[in-house]
Symmetry: C2
Amino acid sequence: MNLEVLFAGTGGSAPTPGRGLPALLVRRGGEHVLVDCGEGTQRQLMRSFGLAEIDLVLLTHLHTDHWLGLPGLLKTLDLQDRTVPLTIVGPVGTTAALAAVQDLTGRVRYPLDVQDVEPGDIVERDGWRAEAIGVQHRTTALGWVLAEDDRPGRFDPEAARALGVGLEDPREFGLLQKGETVRGVRPEQVTSEKRFGRRIVVSGDTRPCDALRAAAWRCDLLVHEATFMDEQAERARKTGHSTTSEAAALAAEAEVGLLALVHLSARHRPTEALAEARRTFEHTELPRDFDVIDVPFPERGDPIFRPGAGRPRRAEDAAEDAASLPPAR
Amino acid sequence: MNLEVLFAGTGGSAPTPGRGLPALLVRRGGEHVLVDCGEGTQRQLMRSFGLAEIDLVLLTHLHTDHWLGLPGLLKTLDLQDRTVPLTIVGPVGTTAALAAVQDLTGRVRYPLDVQDVEPGDIVERDGWRAEAIGVQHRTTALGWVLAEDDRPGRFDPEAARALGVGLEDPREFGLLQKGETVRGVRPEQVTSEKRFGRRIVVSGDTRPCDALRAAAWRCDLLVHEATFMDEQAERARKTGHSTTSEAAALAAEAEVGLLALVHLSARHRPTEALAEARRTFEHTELPRDFDVIDVPFPERGDPIFRPGAGRPRRAEDAAEDAASLPPAR
């Protein structure tokens, strides 16, 4: 099953010409989960993977750059006559913030399920779950672990045959795989250890912290903020953010598969920030808006960085044709 | 003095891949006035004319597609350490809406002057003024007339010489231009009639209405909504919007210089909507985001439609360079 992350907005605090405000879209099979929703996210998504399939929004914290795109997104889904429920989960205060927004924008007609959660709380989904972890920012802030269920071990038909199973009736393989003992052979004799599900960890805005380091242990992909380069380490400390090398050090200690840095301040050059991080942890990327990272099952290879894979193909031009008439005068 | 309109967001209700939510930037000399501020406007402006010079925001009404970009814009100006005051003027309810937003986003450090106005109220500026007109939408809604002060008549030095002034002392011309009588010659004998200032009229969301028709009389540029094509005339009536032909008919009756249509529903093709409008009023454009209309003094010519003149020059690429490093693996 595909598992991929679209970097829908990679900027922080304020947008730039090239970077929208924070938003990640995690796509697993047909399920789309949005992590954070800065101003402009709905349009970034329209230009890329679309809006319709989103049924879960996870917020990391309630600083405006991380959620002010939500009212407009909710409204647009209503204009699209959405009927499917939408679940929004965030730190304490999320319910109140959404209520205040709805006072201004009016209510939507589809069911909204808004939940405040605490670190450790889990949102259960079909085949995976999102777990909130407590991180350290200037306000109550969460990181999110998106973890697939563990997969059963892999059945080894050769080993089964060597033990005399399935030689005449191949349906015996099915019985073993369902957990039954066949001809005295127990399933665990012909099945590998269970395999861990894939895990993506999103830091939100935070200082490097133990909770995050523990949660990120050997995850496939860590999306970590790096608001500042090391020269601004003191400022990072004061504002509750991380530097490039701090994020990279955490990724190295947690032995993550791939580190993706986001939320870089516009004061820094991405090339330099990325080079700085790679000196501490080589397997680092600094995605731009519309870049995609694929997270395959580990036995099929490492995460794949696909620059621009979610980028609109000149959508402006494709969608528009007014300029094909001559000017009025 | 230059007078131009940047179409920063030409969509309506919901953004599309190619069209942002409503925002017009009127630039006159060094002064920048923003009319409406849909979600994403700050980034549209960053990619074009910039944010710093804005010191007046005029809102047409408080439907969210017309103002939800304001909180983020205010916040970004604060992050940019703005100190210059910002004035925000809109219909009754504007002050309350801004206060509610500031409860969520926190206050900004520069002076904010927020005013609720009624139709007929005028915002006086240096050399021009903005006048609110009452239009007909589903909620309290304003159109805005941006009108330059009338200019004094043009002094005719040849006529003055023919009457014996300035033949020996050219400073006599200056005295006449200041309104003094010189050698028995009165200023009005050598000066043309006073000339009307340029006028730009913005409809906001509205049914075609008399107040707008009167306000738009012989204006240089009318920016009028055309949410629907004529086939949706009934729907336009029910939702308080205008069709292409209704907007064009109003422009024809008001004898405007140029009509620019905005707020077209994504259901319609811009080429077809524009063609439909031009059957009623030929001098019509349907700008895309980042198109510009220059409004010269009438004696220097008609308004000039400049497609894409405000468009970023591959700003994403210029501002970003992270992709120039090879991927981590």
